[in-house]
């Protein structure tokens, strides 16, 4: 077995290489689970039919405003919408030259904050069934952006994670080379006496697994500590948005995965490091 100091060192290297990407993964996983809940508070844009005039629009505004599942409604008359649109796009001269305003009157509907997802969907349906309503648009642009960001995050974590895992494997191989070098004499003697490749390999595979498993255990310990440390401020933050804490720690399955990954990496590194030595012994 390697000296305690180098054992601790390789455990730390493996632990850090596994803990960092898995912490990111855990964070992304949590974010992904929170994201759908966030749509609850999202504003709805209700486009009225073009035949509905301003008076009809005001009527709808009042009616919808009285619904219990709606906290606030504001009407954007089509003229105001056109002006805003012209300002934003810089197309004012083009738009002013149009004979008819192509935009409808629009209601911005703010759902009640305590609405759950099914109730929110029901609200969309109820709005869409009003005879004056052309269509209901959920303001999901920022949701789409969040999804994009999450996807980018996953890719980023995959890339960084692969690089770090590769680093861990290289460090494991280097350490295994040192361990094997220190027992070169033994390998040679055993080989001359008729030790099979499997017999020669076995203790080194155990050493590799020992390195990898230790790293895996340390890694899940790191992730546990980190998520426990993060839990309190995140819970507080989510409480502001009226949400129960969705933050989940690494859990038993996650820890088992880290341990298994560590074991596999150690085993793999030992096999790779042994190849060179065994090849030099084969005739």
């Amino acid at each position: 077995m390697a000296r305690p100091f180098s054992t601790l060192l390789i455990w730390l290297v493996v632990a850090i290489s596994l803990a960092l990407p898995s912490t990111f993964l855990l964070t992304l996983d949590n974010l992904g689970r929170v994201a759908p809940d966030l749509t609850r508070g999202a504003q709805l844009s209700v486009m009225l039919r073009s035949k509905a005039d301003l008076a009809a629009a005001r009527l709808v505004e009042q009616r919808v405003g009285a619904w219990p599942e709606v906290s606030q409604v504001s009407l954007i008359p089509r003229e105001q919408a056109l002006m805003e649109f012209a300002e934003q796009t810089g197309l004012s001269s083009v738009l002013m030259s149009l004979e008819n305003n192509p935009l409808p009157h629009t209601l911005l509907v703010e759902p009640a904050p305590d609405l759950n997802k099914t109730a929110a969907t029901a609200l969309v349906g109820r709005l869409a069934q009003l005879s004056e309503v052309e269509r209901v648009i959920q303001d999901t642009r920022w949701m789409a952006r969040l999804q994009e960001a999450l996807l980018a995050g996953w890719r980023w974590v995959t890339a960084i994670g692969s690089a770090m895992v590769l680093g861990a494997v290289l460090a494991l191989i280097t350490t295994m080379h040192l361990v094997i070098d220190a027992r070169r004499e033994e390998i040679e003697v055993v080989s001359v006496m008729g030790g099979s490749a499997a017999f020669i390999r076995r203790p080194f595979l155990y050493t590799g697994v020992y390195f990898g498993a230790g790293g895996g255990v340390l890694a899940s310990l790191c992730v546990w500590l980190f998520s426990a440390w993060l839990a309190q401020p995140v819970d507080a933050l989510l409480a502001l948005y009226d949400m129960a804490s969705p933050l989940r720690g690494p859990g038993a399955f996650y820890s088992a995965c880290l341990l298994a990954i560590g074991v596999c990496l150690g085993w793999l590194a030992a096999l790779i490091a042994l190849r060179r030595y065994l090849r030099s012994l084969e005739i």
Binding site: E185, G194, E282, I283
Partner: protein, 220 residues
């Protein structure tokens, strides 16, 4: 029976062995001698399949070794007990565990292994040092532990390359008598050595190599 049939081994321009033919009978004890560089170690390495000949064939009990593939080499090597000049014991474990190594690779149960190790150490007169670390042993004792390790798994052949190279005459003679004792119970023994005065006193065949060829053989 070990047969070398016109065996050659070249290292570039150096002919370590050239068209060497010799036979060692089952149950025989023979010495291999010759000047430094004559090819003694090369011959033993070829026999153990630590190296392969450039030409010719080596047969053991009538079977050509050329056909033995990498996967079967360990099994083949276990038919030989090997004693090295520098004993090559492992200092990270006890005398007992050193001797037990060939049994471990052959898959013996601990109890049977223990019994055999003690029997082998008893034969070389070192049972008392079973628990000692090899680092605390004298040169002669180390070599005897090496012999115990070589014979513990009851090999058919005992091979030694200059086993007395580092020992004084009295100890050398003691080691040679150990080899003779194992030969007497049926093990075929082949010992490479420079120690002509010692081996000429013993009544065994002496094979003399010179520049990779057999220069002569005198029966003891």
């Amino acid at each position: 029976m070990i047969e070398f049939d016109r065996v050659s081994r070249r290292f570039g321009d150096i002919h370590a062995l050239r068209y060497l033919s010799l036979t060692i009978d089952q149950g025989e004890m023979a010495f291999l001698t010759g000047h430094s560089g004559a090819g003694k170690s090369t011959l033993l390495r070829l026999l153990l399949l630590l190296d392969r000949p450039s030409g010719g064939d080596i047969r053991v009990c009538g079977e050509s070794t050329a056909k033995i593939g990498t996967g079967s080499v360990p099994q083949y090597r276990r038919r030989f007990g090997v004693v090295f000049q520098d004993h090559r014991l492992l200092f990270d474990r006890s005398v007992h565990d050193n001797v037990a190594l060939p049994l471990a690779m052959a898959g013996y149960a601990p109890r049977e292994s223990q019994r055999r190790v003690r029997a082998a150490l008893d034969k070389v007169g070192l049972l008392a040092l079973e628990r000692a670390n090899p680092a605390s042993l004298s040169g002669g004792e180390l070599q005897r532990v090496g012999i115990a390790r070589a014979v513990v798994a009851k090999p058919e052949f005992l091979i030694a390359d200059e086993p007395t190279g580092n020992l004084d005459p009295a100890l050398s003679s003691e080691i040679m008598s150990l080899f003779e004792a194992f030969n007497q119970v049926g093990v075929t023994v082949l010992v490479a050595t420079h120690d002509l005065p010692l081996i000429s006193r013993l009544r065994h065949r002496i094979l003399t190599l010179s520049a990779g060829s057999l220069a002569g053989q005198e029966s003891g």
